[in-house]
Every structure is written in structure tokens, then in C-alpha cells.
Amino acid sequence: MGKTLFESEQGDKARIDLDRVRTLQSDLETERAEARERERQMERYASDLSETFRAERRRSDELRASYVATVRALTNAVEARDAYTGKHAERVAAYGLELARRLAPALAAEPQTEFGFLLHDIGKVAIPDGILHKAGDLTPEEEALMRRHPVIGAEIVSHVEFLADAELIVRHHHERFDGGGYPDGLAGSEIPLAARIFAVADALDAMTTDRPYRPGAAFSEARREIAAGAGHQFDPEVVAVLDRISDTEFDRLRGTVG
């Protein structure tokens, strides 16, 4: 006896359902395979990206190192002409960066700040030996030429792109807080902060370094003299930060320069 019409319809329906399930399953597998393919593709991008970052970081480290080496070479060349100052620029840079770290961390983190500190006297390459090393007083003409070294120095570094911001320090490192300095006679906050910091670090090193005609002063004594110049030669805010750095710390910084 054959199937009833009812049974046959049931069977057809079951087959159709099974086909639909198979199609859905196959669609699902295709979608899963596509999703896996996309995932693998994204992983490939991620791995290339991290490789690119690593390479980029290596390159920028190398570039940074070559900038620093260039600036050190220039600094040494400038200092080679002046037997008395020795490692003056390196010490000023170390003191100045410590002051900057406490006063304006972003400024201290900027490589150009250190470059400017190190190269502040680069304009002295244009000053003849006879004037630079003269034992007695300078004539007014010689004095005028000597006072041009910040402008000459700024002109020199202005042609070097990676020293563009250092130019401000080079140009203004002889300005006074009261406006009595040179070359532009800027006063107070008209003087770039890095140059105001430099003035204090420079004085600190000048006072505490041995000279042929006198021994270097102790840090405590230099502090008193610099404090007396606050508001005149020096920015009082920078002087206040100087007081927060101990003699031991300055000794350590001096030691790192050698």
C-alpha cells in the first residue's frame, strides 16, 4: 500500500527543510571562512604596522644621536679656543636643564633647549684670537665686536633647520632681566624663558669654576651672589628654582660632565 497523500506531503516538506538547513549551513561556513580571512588580513596589517613603528623609532633614535654628535662636535670646537672655560658649555647645559626640568618640563624635554645651551657661544668663532684672548681691557671697538657674538651665533644656527629653536637662546643669552643686556635690551618675559634660565646657569658655573687668578667659589656663595642679582640680572622665578636644587645635586651634575 502506497503512502497517503498526507504522508507524501510530509516527506517533501522534510526534504525541503533539510535542503534549506544544508544551504544555511554552507552559507554559514562561507561566512566563517570569509571572517577568518579578514581576521588573518588584519593580523597581517597589525604585524606590518608594529614592524614599521619599530623601524621608525630606530631611525629617529639614530637621527637624534647624529644631531647630538653634531652639536657636541661644534661645542668642542668652540671651546677648544678657550683654554680657561674647559667644559663650561656642558656644565651650563647640565645646570640649565635641571633648572628647566623643575620650571618648565616641556622646555627641558625639547632637544633644542640643550642644543642652545651647548652652542650659546658659537658666535665667538668670528671673534679674532687677539680680542678673545686679550689679557688687558678691550678697546671700545673691540668691546663692540665682542658684543656681537650672540647675533653672529644666531645667524650661524639659523641656517640649520634642527637648530631653529636653539637660535633664541644663542641670540639672547646675554640679555639681563632689567633690560640692561645685549643685543636687543629685552626685559622680563620678553626674554625667552630658556635664555633667562641660561643666564642663571651660566653665572653659577662662572662663579664656581677655578680661574688662573682665583679659585672657584662654593655653590653656597654663588647662590648668595645670584640671589642678590634677582630682578636685576636674573629672573626671580629662576632664582627661586635654583634654591630648590641642593649643592649635592649640583656637585653630582658637575661630576657627570667631567
Binding site: E37, R38, R40, Q41, E43, R44, D48, E51
Partner: protein
């Protein structure tokens, strides 16, 4: 940079290739979702480089490549996107007239280098 056509049925992969090449390209690469669209796009855009997926609905990459090679005009460089270089798909792609292969998943750096190499200097 050379005009580029990207042929893949997966819009995600197309977008990825287009975005990767976008910064180096003068014009945004053209896109096609299957072989038939690819043939139309080649007529319209006259690309110098075609990135061609293998398996696509309506018309796959092999057939589209064969038909492009039948045309007499200046031929684009056809780069076939395959799962493995050297497998039988790759051999079939070479027979169809593909010039180069890029294995999936492709490296974006390889993709950029490949386009750089194909660019007239």
C-alpha cells in the same frame, strides 16, 4: 602614480587595498566587485595596475584576466590575489595572463613596494 583598479567581491578587502594605496596614489584607486564589473572598469578607467581576486561571483578572476588579455590596447599589469604562490590556482592565473601574484593575507608593505616597483620612475 599609476592608475589602479582593485577587483574583489569582499568590500572589506577592497577598502583595505584602496586605503593602503590612497596616500601614495594621485587618484583614488577604482573598484570592481566581480569580473564583469572589472571588464567595464578597465574600459572606463584604463588602469595601469589591476589587483584581481581569484574567486568571485558572476565572473572570477581567471576569466576576467583572459578577457582583458584579448583586448588589443595597452595592457595593464595584472596582479592576482591568491592563497598560495605556486599552487595550481597560481599556475592557472599565469596561464590566464596574470603578471604577478600577491598571496593572501597580503602584507601592506609588500603591496606598497609592489606598486612602487611598477610605477614609472
Amino acid at each position: 602614480m599609476a592608475a589602479v583598479l582593485v577587483v574583489d567581491d569582499d568590500p572589506f578587502i577592497r577598502q583595505l587595498i584602496v586605503s593602503t594605496l590612497e596616500d601614495t596614489a594621485r587618484d583614488r584607486p577604482a573598484e570592481a566587485g566581480d569580473g564583469i564589473e572589472a571588464l567595464e572598469a578597465v574600459e572606463r578607467e584604463q588602469p595601469q595596475i589591476v589587483f584581481m581576486d581569484l574567486n568571485m561571483p558572476r565572473m572570477g578572476g581567471l576569466e576576467a584576466t583572459r578577457r582583458m588579455r584579448e583586448a588589443p590596447k595597452p595592457q595593464p599589469t595584472i596582479v592576482m590575489l591568491t592563497a598560495f604562490a605556486g599552487d595550481e590556482n597560481a599556475r592557472a592565473a599565469e596561464e590566464a595572463g596574470a603578471d604577478l601574484f600577491l598571496t593572501k593575507p597580503f602584507s601592506p608593505l609588500e603591496l606598497l613596494n609592489l606598486v612602487d616597483d611598477l610605477n614609472p620612475k
